[in-house]
């Protein structure tokens, strides 16, 4: 029961944090993204004249991101969605969101957007192993790819050096992926929805990293309001620390030439495989 109730403040936190974090990391006022979203949402969307299912793309993009956000714990564990919050599912939900962006760019019918979207698709395909091999290392270490039991196991055993390396590999891959896809000619409310989806994806990824790499301060859903408040405060601190680090990495990523980005994704995979080897060697020695 409390697990289901905990979903409400969890989603409220995630949805509120998405534009707020974008405002804190970007230039100008922290409230600027909120104002931009509100302004855009009041304008009608414009669909290309010859487009087919283009109209459904914003729904799929934000819907898939929203589904991922529901599964990733923010301030508490044991939410109602915990038995299904599997890392493979979360990764593939992000993949669905990205696929919708790519197809919408093709549907818009402009060559520039289509080419950019194909580049994004290639990058996504290159990055998938770099994201899922760290999940393998985590599953090998904790015996599961479900988030809640994995976090509980990490709290007990402490962070293994190989897991830290795996987290680094996942972070490198996330940096390579970037936080925005191509802009497939969205406008008005559609642009607001897609922009918000990007911000929510950013918060979800950071929240996931916070839960796995810094698994302290998480409340239990049955713990009551006071532990929830402590959990929320810890989450805010962790998100702040990770956001600063992610901001620095974004600046580095911005200076990288587009042709070099797949190499960065490949580097993520290599580091992930090294982490796997390190973990397995440790197991063998034990």
């Amino acid at each position: 029961m409390m697990g289901a109730i905990a979903l409400v403040p969890h989603m409220a936190l995630m949805l509120a944090a998405a534009p707020l974090l974008a405002g804190l990391l970007g230039p100008g006022s922290p409230a600027q993204p909120w104002r931009d979203l509100r302004r855009l949402f009041r304008k009608p969307g414009i669909w290309p004249e010859a487009a087919g299912p283009f109209a459904a793309a914003p729904v799929v993009i934000l819907g898939a991101t929203l589904a991922a956000a529901v599964l990733v714990p923010s301030f508490t564990l044991e939410m109602a969605t915990a038995p299904m919050s599997d890392l493979v599912l979360i990764a593939m939900l992000f993949g669905l969101s990205r696929a919708a962006v790519v197809l919408a760019a093709f549907d818009a019918g402009t060559g520039t957007a289509s080419l950019a979207s194909m580049r994004v698709a290639v990058l996504g395909a290159t990055a998938l192993p770099g994201l899922l091999v760290p999940v393998l290392v985590l599953a090998a270490a904790t015996g599961t790819s479900l988030l809640d039991p994995a976090i509980a196991a990490l709290r007990e055993s402490g962070v293994h050096p190989a897991l830290a390396l795996a987290a680094t590999a996942a972070a490198i891959t996330c940096v390579a992926l970037g936080d925005a896809g191509p802009e497939p000619d969205f406008a008005g409310r559609d642009l607001a929805v897609v922009t918000f989806a990007g911000q929510l994806r950013y918060v979800t990824v950071l929240s996931l990293l916070a839960a796995l790499a810094l698994p302290f301060g998480l409340a239990q859903a049955e713990g009551g309001l006071d532990t929830w408040l402590v959990g929320a405060a810890c989450w805010a601190v962790k998100m702040g620390v990770l956001a600063v680090a992610a901001g620095a990495l974004r600046r580095l990523r911005a200076g990288l030439r587009a042709e070099r980005v797949p190499e960065l994704a490949l580097l993520g995979l290599i580091v992930a495989l090294i982490a796997a080897a390190l973990f397995l060697a440790g197991q063998g020695a034990a």
Partner: protein, 468 residues
Amino acid sequence: VLIALLLIAGALAVLGAVSLYVPPPWAGRAGAALLLAGLGVAVAALFTGPAELGPLRLDGLAAWTAAAILIASSPAILAAATWSLLAASAALLTVLVASPLFAAGLLVTAAITGWQRGRVPALALGAGCFYAVARLGYSGVLAIGWGLLALGAGLGAAIAGGVAAAGARRLGDAAPAIAALVTGLAIAGLGVSIAARGADLLPAATLGLEAALLFLLTGAVSLAALELAGLAIRAAAGTGEIAQVGRMWPAMPATCLSALIAAASVAALPPFSGFASFYLLLQALFAANRIGGVFVQFAFACAAAAVCIAAGLAALAMLRLLGLTLFGPRLAGSPARDPAGDARLLMAVLAALAAALGLAPGAALLLANPVLSEAGLPAPAPLLLPTFAAGLLTAAFAAVWGVMRQAPQARRGPVWDGGRPGSAELAPYVPGLLALRWRPTPRWPTLRECLAGAVLTLAVVLIVMVAR
């Protein structure tokens, strides 16, 4: 009874060979009738009782494989769609009551119906190899070694198929590449299962076998739907060149929707059916990480990376194929329409089947229980995650749609591309892919190659059996 059934199967083979010389409109119907006759033989074989056919165990596994091939074959697709639909439905029903001779009778007839195109012999060969690997692997001969061999070979085939599919320049080239991709992943799942069973990691073995069976079933349905859509688009556009075909969605919505569902399944995107197979395969690899020494375990980690590479390539190939043919700019000027009733019905059935497998793969996997018990594996835990994901996504989509309806309604307008009005009549292009020097050219193997492969497989099976 066994001899009588084999004689009937042989007679059917002769009839099938004769049907090669029947004119095209009747060839498909004759083929489908033969399939139905083969099914009759299989059902008859069911009542002979499996006990007297001891060596031909693992019948359920073979039945799954044969049904997958049957659905994928879709004989004389556009000409005799109703017959194909009947045959495919009957096959699915027969899977429920798998029998030892089912596979043999069905494989022969299924091979005959697709003989002209050359694709079904290839699929039959793939299934034959699958069956042989399973027979040898689960019989306990070289268990871990067989498993690793199958895993490596399957992943190699899957990645080669993925690269070929992602670089295909004609619609016809994509089908064999996708078949290699899906079959490769299925064989990889089987490999994990065999290796895990050899190491007494029974839960991992169950997961691997489930993944393999689901890959076969969902892959066959998706492949058949993509083949149908490809044929319809090729017929409507007058060309199979991907660079020349584009923006088919407005003219052929039913075909394109069916292709979209099938492609999303191949790309392993939730909530479509391929996701469940991909998830099970990864879970099998996660659970199998205690097999052998450190080097074998590292090989499993590399295998997980290879599975992800194959899945990424599948997604890339499907996005490129859909993006260019369904939505991209259009060059070929001929008017396009959805195909007529029969073919459209078959497409709808396949798309519905692909969607249903995505929503409730756990229900489909209940069919695998006899196979699992044959292989000496424990019954699996119910697979609910994909169903849950589908429910969650539906709720999320509904919520977003509800919020978006509060905003002013969208309108249609011209798009701008690089400072000038965008147009669907732009020059054709095929976006560059990974800068690979090696690019396999996909094609279906010839009949001679299939026969050579079959003989080779049979020889390996016999040698190992005699050695035992």
